[in-house]
């Protein structure tokens, strides 16, 4: 499992947030978030302890924990084997590891129009 790099914005596993989260840097989220997450141009990683009930708008999204909500990614979405995702995913690319759970739609929209 990937661990957060130093210098990366982090929300630890004991942290609980309700509301709108936005930023202009990459974020590693291992706590509980309810609401919405907007990181346009940046990446979000939901760690293995992360429990997220939120819509996500980011450049890239990696999910190792639990997510309820739709994902809108301008680049890539990665669901790791421990991921549990309930929601629709729209991205240019997607990678799903064996063992990941997804309940929802996958819609690949490439920027070259294909």
């Amino acid at each position: 499992m990937s661990t957060p790099a130093s210098g990366l914005a982090q929300i630890g596993k004991s942290v609980v947030i309700k509301g709108e989260l936005s930023g202009s840097e990459d974020l590693y989220l291992d706590g509980q978030v309810e609401g919405s997450i907007a990181l346009k141009g940046n990446s979000l990683t939901v760690g293995p302890n992360g429990q997220v009930k939120a819509s996500i708008d980011a450049k890239g999204v990696v999910v190792q924990g639990r997510l309820e909500g739709n994902i809108q990614a301008s680049d890539r979405v990665d669901l790791r084997k421990s991921a549990t995702v309930t929601g629709d995913i729209t991205a240019q690319r997607i990678s799903i590891e064996e063992g990941a759970f997804l309940k929802g739609k996958v819609d690949i929209q490439r920027s070259d129009g294909k």
Partner: protein, 238 residues
Amino acid sequence: MSSVSQTFMKLFRGSSGPETVPAQGSPKLTRRSSGLGELSRSWESAENLCVLDLGSTSPANIRHFTEHGHRIYSEDLLTASTDPELLTKDEQGNAILDSRKFLADNLVYPAAHFDVVFCWNLPDYLHESLVKPVVGRLWSVLKPGGMLLAFFHTRDAGPDSPCHRFHIIGADTLEMQKIVLRREARRGPTGAVHTAISDGFQLQRVFNNRHIENLFRDFASIKFFLARDNVREVLVVR
């Protein structure tokens, strides 16, 4: 009640004790599918198909359809049917699953939404109380002319036929992967904690052709393909 529900779920999931083999460790077998082949030919030049996969989340299936420009929905109904909160009793006091609650939480889509539905072996392994309601819901979410593919064991397959996952690897080729029990507690989509979920399901019944025709009686047409591995593939059109 908890011991009754545990016994009920044990009978539903299979009586063998849990093993520690992870699902991704079980070998994959290749299988040619006439039903899939016919489906593939029907959508050869189709664009923007809307597909529903009712098996375990399959990266291969998602990749197969998204690479061709289609949208795919993934919904593991067998796993969803193991939610302990579905347990209830009928008028005779027998343990059943609450089909209304199940359909309130699952298969919630607009009417006439899907071009293709992959049921795989779902009807053979799904609890009796859910089979007809699920098929009724699938009829309504399929577009007119939409197609559904399902696999049914024949009597020769035997009562201990293992439940498989299916991965599309070609126009008419599948990989089958036996679902095995694993020691893992995972929180399901409703928040309930499941142990050994989505693994080790037991064959609930063997449909004969007439039962299958009756099950899909609201559909416009039905086609059977008999395979060597004691499986009937059934392709129905809404």
